[in-house]
Amino acid sequence: MTENAPSINGDIHRDIRHDSAHKHVAGSADYIDDIPEKRDLLHVCLGQSSRAHARIKSLDLDDVRAAPGVVMVLTADDIPGKNDVSPFAGDDPLFAEDIVQFHGQSIFAVAATSRDQARRAAKLAKIDYEDYPAILTIDDAMTAKSYIEAPQCMKQGDSAAALKKAPIRRTGCFRVGGQDHFYLEGQIAMAEPKEDGDVHVWSSTQNPTEVQHLVAKVLNIPDNGVTVEVRRMGGGFGGKETHPSLFAAAAALVARKTGRTAKCRVDRDDDMIMTGKRHDFRIDYDVGFDSEGRLLGLDLKLASRCGYSVDLSPAINDRAMFHSDNCYFLEHVTINSYRCRTNTVSNTAFRGFGGPQGMIAIERIMDVIAHDLSKDPLDVRMINLYGKTDRNITPYGMMVEDNIAPELIAELAKTADYKNRRREITAFNQVNVYLKKAIALTPVKFGISFTALHLNQAGALIHIYSDGSVHLNHGGTEMGQGLFIKVAQVVANELQIDIDRIKISATTTDKVPNSSPTAASSGSDLNGMAALAAARTLKNRLTEFAAHHYDCAIDHIVFRNNHVYLDDQEISFNQLVHQAYLGRVSLSSTGFYKTPKIHYDRKIHKGRPFFYFSYGAAIAEVIIDLLTGENKILRVDILHDVGKSLNPAIDRGQIEGGFIQGAGWLTTEELVFDDKGILRSHAPSTYKIPTSADRPAQMTINLWNGVNKEDTIHKSKAVGEPPLMLAIAAHSALTLAVANANNAKDLPALNAPATAEEILSKLI
C-alpha cells in the first residue's frame, strides 16, 4: 500500500525550481529597498575619506548640516558604544576618528529627508588632511614588512633538500588580480527604532547574527535589543559577509538618534569604493621535478593584499595555503604566506575565500613543468594526483580519504574528446598566423567546512500549525543560491508532505539565534541538517502520538505522500496534526547540527580542517588574437561532483554561474588603483564582468555520478564555491595559447586577469 503511493511534490534529489522564481520574474520578490518606506523615513549617506592615508587635521561639517533636507550629521563622537564594525579584530571603525586608512573610508554619516539630499550634502564636508606615506601595493608592503598578522608557514617533508636533489628546477612569479563582487543589489540596510531603545534592522547580509552583534555594540545595547532580518539578497558572493555591518550600523545609529526609520542604500560607485574585494596575490614558486614531470619539491610564496584592516584575511589566506595542493600530492613542500597590510579597502570573503588563488598557483606550476618537458599538461597533472591509499596526505596533515579526481578527470577527458581536440588545435595553429588556440584541463578539489571550528554549527526552527501547514526557518540566508528550496525539500521529504505546504520565511535573528554566516559553501550542509533534526523531532512526536492514539506499534507507522499509514489505517498528515494539536502535542521544534570529525591546530597548521572535499574538472578551449590580445573562451566541458544532489537543477546553476564568475575574475575584471590609492574601476562602465556573449558558445555541464562518503545531508555535497575554480582551466588555456604563439622555451608568466592587454604584453 504505502509502496505504491505516489511521491510528494518537491522531494529531495529532484529538479525543483527556485522557491522565489515566480516572484523574481514578476518583480514581486521583495528586496529591502522594495519595502514601502515610512513617511518620515530618513536616508543615510556616508562621507568618505579622499585620502589613502592621512591624519584628519580638521573636520568641518557645517555646510553638510546646513544643506537642504539634512536632519542630522553623525561622527565618531556620536557613537554611544564601540566605534567598530569589524568581524573580530576590532579595527574597522564605523567612522574614522583621527587617521584615515584608505581612500573611501567612512568618516561621517548624514541623514536627510531624501536620498538625493543626503548624497549631495555628504559632498559638502570640508576636511583638512595631513598626508602620511601610503602603502598601496603588495610589493610596497612586502618591502616595508607591513602585515595584518605574522607570516604563516605550512610545511610537509623537506622541500629544501628535495629541491636541491631535483633533476630539474624552475622558479617563477606571477600575479593574480582581485575581484569586485558586483552583486546586482548593492549594499543596503534599513533600521526602525523600537521601544526600549531596541532596533529592527533589515540588512542585505549573509551574516545577520554578526550585524546584530555589531549594531548592538555600536549602540551599546545587548544583542537582544537588536533584531536583524533578511528575506533575500540580490546576490552576495561573500561581499555581504562582513561589510553590511558598516551600513547597518550607520542606519541603526541614525534611527536610534532621531527616532525615525533610517535607510542606507549605497550608490554603486560608493559600494565598489567602500567595500572589500577578493584579495589580489603575488605568487612566487621554486619547483623541482623529474623528467617524467613528477613534482619533487616546492617552495611557494603567497603574498596577498589585505587592505587596511584584518577583516577575514587570516582565514582567507589560510585557505589559499590549504588549496595550494589542489589535487596533487606535495611530498616536500613549504608554503609561506604573507598577509600584507596596505592603505586600500579591506579585502574580504569572495566565493572561494582564498582557495582560488592557492589553486591557480599549483595549476600554473603544472603547466610550467609540462611546458619545460614538452609534455601534455594533462599527463603531468595525472601523475601528480593524490593516491588512494598512499601519497594521500595534504601539506596540513589531513588524509585525503575521498579522492575521486583520477577517475573524474579521466572521464571528462574522454567524454570531451580532449586528446583529439588537442591535436586538432595543433593543426589549427599551424595554418593560422594571427589567431591561436589552446585547450586545457584543470581539476578542483575544495575543502568543505569553515576553518574556524565554532562556525560549523547551525540551528533551525519549524512550526506545524494545526491545519498541517508548516513554517520553516533556519539561520542560513538566501542570496540566490537556492538554499531555501533545498532546505525546504529536506523538510518536505522528512515529513512527507508537498513542498507547497511549507512556508519559507525570512532569516531573522529572533527565530534562530547565533547563526553562522551563510558562507564556505556550507549553507545546505549545515542548515539542511539542522532542519532535518527539527523535522525529525516533530515527526517523532507525531509518531508517538499516533501510536498512542491509534494503538499502533511505532515501527508500523509510516509517513508517505501527505499521509500517515498505521497498520491498515490511513489518515492525512493534516488530520494527524489536528488530532495531535487537540491531544496537546507541541508542534514546534528547534533543530541543531554541528559538523563532526573536524579539528585544526593553527599554530602548527596541522589537522583535519575539512569534513570532506568536493571535486570537479573543466576543459576550456580558447582563442587569442595575436595583433590585439583579444581573446575568447570558445568551449567549456565540465564534470562536477556534488555528491547525491539535493536538487540537480539548482546545482547546475551554481556550477555554470560559478564558472562564468571565475572566468570574469581571470579575464576581464580588472581592479585598477592609481598611485594615490584611488580605485579607478568603480562602476560597471569601467569594471567589466562577463556579459551573455562572454559565455562560451558551447558549454556542457555534467554531474559526477557518486555519493558523499561522509554522512552529509542525504549524501549531497556543497556546491557554492568549488565551481568558481573550474575557470582556472580558461586561464591555463590562455597561457598555453600565448605559449603556442610564442613557441619559446619559457611558459609565459601570464598574469590574471588575462585582459587583451595582458595577453598582448606576453606575446613575443
Binding site: 527556485h18 515566480h22 523574481h24 520574474v25 529597498d33 549631495r120 546586482l184 556579459t691 551573455s692
Partner: protein, 502 residues
Amino acid sequence: MAQKNITLLLGGRPHEVINFDPTRTLLDYLRYDAARTGTKEGCGEGDCGACTVVIGTLKEGKLHFEAVNSCIIFLPTLDGKLLLTVEDLVQPDGSLHIIQRAIADLQASQCGFCTPGFVMSIFAHIRSGGGADLASINDALAGNLCRCTGYGPIIEAVRHSISAQVEDHLTALEETWIKQLAAMSSPDTLSLSWACPDTGNERHYSAPKTTAALTALYAAHPEATLLAGGTDVGLWVTKQLRSLDRLIYLGHITELARITKSKTHIEIGAGVTFADALPILSTHFPDLGEVIRRLGSAQIRNRATIGGNIANGSPIGDSMPVLIALNTELTLQSASGLRHIPLEDYFISYGKQDRAAGEFVAAIRIPILKADQYFRAYKISKRFDQDISSVCGAISVTLNDGIISSARIAYGGVAATPLRAIATENTLIGAKWNETTIQSAMSALENDISPISDMRATADYRLKVARNILLKAYIEYDTPLSQTRLTGDGAQTRLMGNGAAE
C-alpha cells in the same frame, strides 16, 4: 506658458504626472512614486540593465517597442509614450507571461535582482522581431548583467519564448494604445517648469517638436543643456549630482530623426538613434555596423543618438573615428542658418568643440564607399560587448593599380579628442599598398597620437594596438581568407567549425 504635467500610458493606462522635477529619473518615479518596485536599480548609470523597462512609441501609425535603462531617463521624456514595466507582463488573472514562465521554469533566475530587467529586454527583443540565433540573443542581452546564472539558462529562456509564439494579453490592447497615443500627440512645444525647493531655482524643461522651434528656443537660452538620448547627460545627474536648470529635449523633433540616402551620400539626422541608424550603416559600411553593434547595449542604442555622440565631444565616443575615416561632413544649425564642416574639425581640444552659442548638431553626411575604396574599422575594448574602447581605429584608402591615392586614418581613445592621423596618412599617400608601406605607417603613428594610461589600458598598449590595427587592415585585404577576428559576423561559427557554435 509652462505646464506642470505630462501624460503617458503607464502600463497601458492614461497616467498624468503633475508638478515634478524634470530631472527626476524614470526609475525613481516608478519605484518611489508609482509603487512599481519590480524595476530595480543596480548601477544608476545605464550599464547593468536591472532597471530596464520598455517604451512604446507611435511611429507612422505603428507601435515600436524599445528596451531602455530607466535609471538615466528623465521623466518628462516619457510624455506621449507607452511605458511597460515588469508588472505589466503578468496577465490580468495573475498568471505569468510566457517570458516570465520560461525564465522561472528554466532556472534562469537565481538571486532574481537582475531578472525583471532581463524580462523586459527579452520582451522588447521579441516584440521587435528579434532573432532566436545566439548572436541576436547575445546582442539583445548585452545590456543586462547577471552575476549568478552564467547566462546559459537565460539564453535558453529567450529561445523558448520565441519558439512558443504565444500571443500575450498585451497584443490585444495595441489597437487601443495606438489610438490613445495618437490622441495625446501635439505639435506644440512641451514646456515644463518646477520650483526646486532646495535651491530656490526654477527648473525648466522644453521639448520642441520642430527645428524652427528648437532654433528659436536655443537662441533665447544658449546656456540650456541639450538633451537627446540622455545616456551621458543622465549620469551628470545620477552620478555627478549636477543641477540642470534648463533642458531642451530633442527627442520629439522628427526633422532631426530622418535618414536619407542619395547615390553618393547617406545623411543622418542628429536625432537618429544608433539603433535606427544601424541597419543602413551596416549595409553600406559593415565595420561601422560592427562598431555600432558593440556600442553600448540595446538599451543605450535605443536612446543614444549620433548627434549626441558627436556633440558631447568625448575622446572615446566609438562612432567618431570611424565616421572621420569615412570623410563625414557635419552640419551645424543655429538661428543664423546652416554650417557644414568636416567632422574632424569639430573637435578642437579636450572638452572644446567648434560649436557657437545657440548652435546645435543637425546632421551628418557620409559619402558612400567607392569601388576603389578599401575601408576597415576596429574597436578594441576590455570586454567585447557594452564596453568603452581602449582604442577604436578606422582606415580608408583609395587604391589605383596598387598605389594609395588617398588615405584617411582616424582613432579614438588615443588622444584628447578623436583625431585624424595625418602623418600616418602621408606615409601612405602615393606609396604602394604593401606590407612595407604599412610598416612605415605604423612607425609614423607615434607622431600623430599620444595616448594616456588609464583604467581601460596603458599608453603602451594603446599605441601598439593602434599600430596593429593598420596591419590587420592590410592583412584582411592581402589575405582575405585568413582568420583575423574573434567577434562579428560569422567569427564564432568559423572558429568552432561546423555546427559547433550552435
